[in-house]
Symmetry: C2
Subunit: 215 residues, 2 copies
Amino acid sequence: MKPLLQIALDHTDLVSALDTVHRVKDYVDVVECGTILCFCEGIKTVSVIKTLCPEKIVVCDLKCCDAGEILAKQAFSAGAKWMTVVCAAPLATMITTKKIADSYQGEIQIELFGNWTFEDAKEWVKNGITQAIYHRGRDAQAAGQGWSQSDLDKMKRLSDLGIGLSVTGGITPESISTFKDINVKVFIAGRALSAAADPKKAATQFREQIDKYWD
Amino acid sequence: MKPLLQIALDHTDLVSALDTVHRVKDYVDVVECGTILCFCEGIKTVSVIKTLCPEKIVVCDLKCCDAGEILAKQAFSAGAKWMTVVCAAPLATMITTKKIADSYQGEIQIELFGNWTFEDAKEWVKNGITQAIYHRGRDAQAAGQGWSQSDLDKMKRLSDLGIGLSVTGGITPESISTFKDINVKVFIAGRALSAAADPKKAATQFREQIDKYWD
């Protein structure tokens, strides 16, 4: 399947986020209420975005570590289709969160940071979790750390376990080809779309690259 | 130093949280805007709590994994004195977050989940981070996992590295003695205080136990 295109809304206020939504929503498949936005404005952002983009997949990027049941109920009842859980969360949290997700026909995505292992990943798959987010962190990025062969090898191994990957961290149309051997489910773009003078053109450039490398 | 007493506000709405604040704030040292509350109502909860409890330490339990600079600026400018960062966050995120914390004379607390190592902990200390939160997760707790000797041994090793520990997860006055050999900085209570018919009495029971085991 062709990778989808996701806009990450990482604004600190809802009005700025809505400006981006207004400009880019017609050109993406998935709209993400980012952690920053959720923390600054609260869970209502998810309801607002879902109301404005009823036909899009809405992701609530809570990066849940604990209290999965309560957070998942909040996110999915607000209209999220996907919600993120940090890989460092206890398996009990992942299972609880997935159960709530299932009841809303939603899914959880494991966000990969730090010392996760492939043994962990096998446990996720065994528990029916099929999505993960491979992340070049904003701060790692700012510290000049790029995509390495080690990153790509890990992504490939995760794909091979049956996990659909969302890839994020300074993704541009030029970087898409880097991931051509990986089963990418979603490319997440932030400023490459939101700061583009012509978001439609920017999205088209992403799609052209995606079409070139995936059937 | 004697451990402090912290109330965790993990409500899904600000009004319920304020009801608890109103009832317990005179009996605690630290008031925590929990992850659930922050996500449900947004960062304004920190400003509201700080306004109502100007003389208390306010913790913003963001469980930051990334985007440390933006999140820390939000939390500390809203009045937080401490802010949580997940142990799985890249070291770059911890360093960035700590830099912002320093500029507000605040501190960050590393929240321990999953596969952290003592090598990680040494890096935290080396970078001037002096607090961590040892957590029996809500979901782990619900799954019947208690405090083990392994937990206590890890806490002791962290103390010995110079890290002040906040201890959380179903803490009651009866469980305080479990931690008597550890350099506990804060005991975090939730329902043991907020659901008590007489919060003053419940807090006194905590203080009595603390006085018994710490000078």
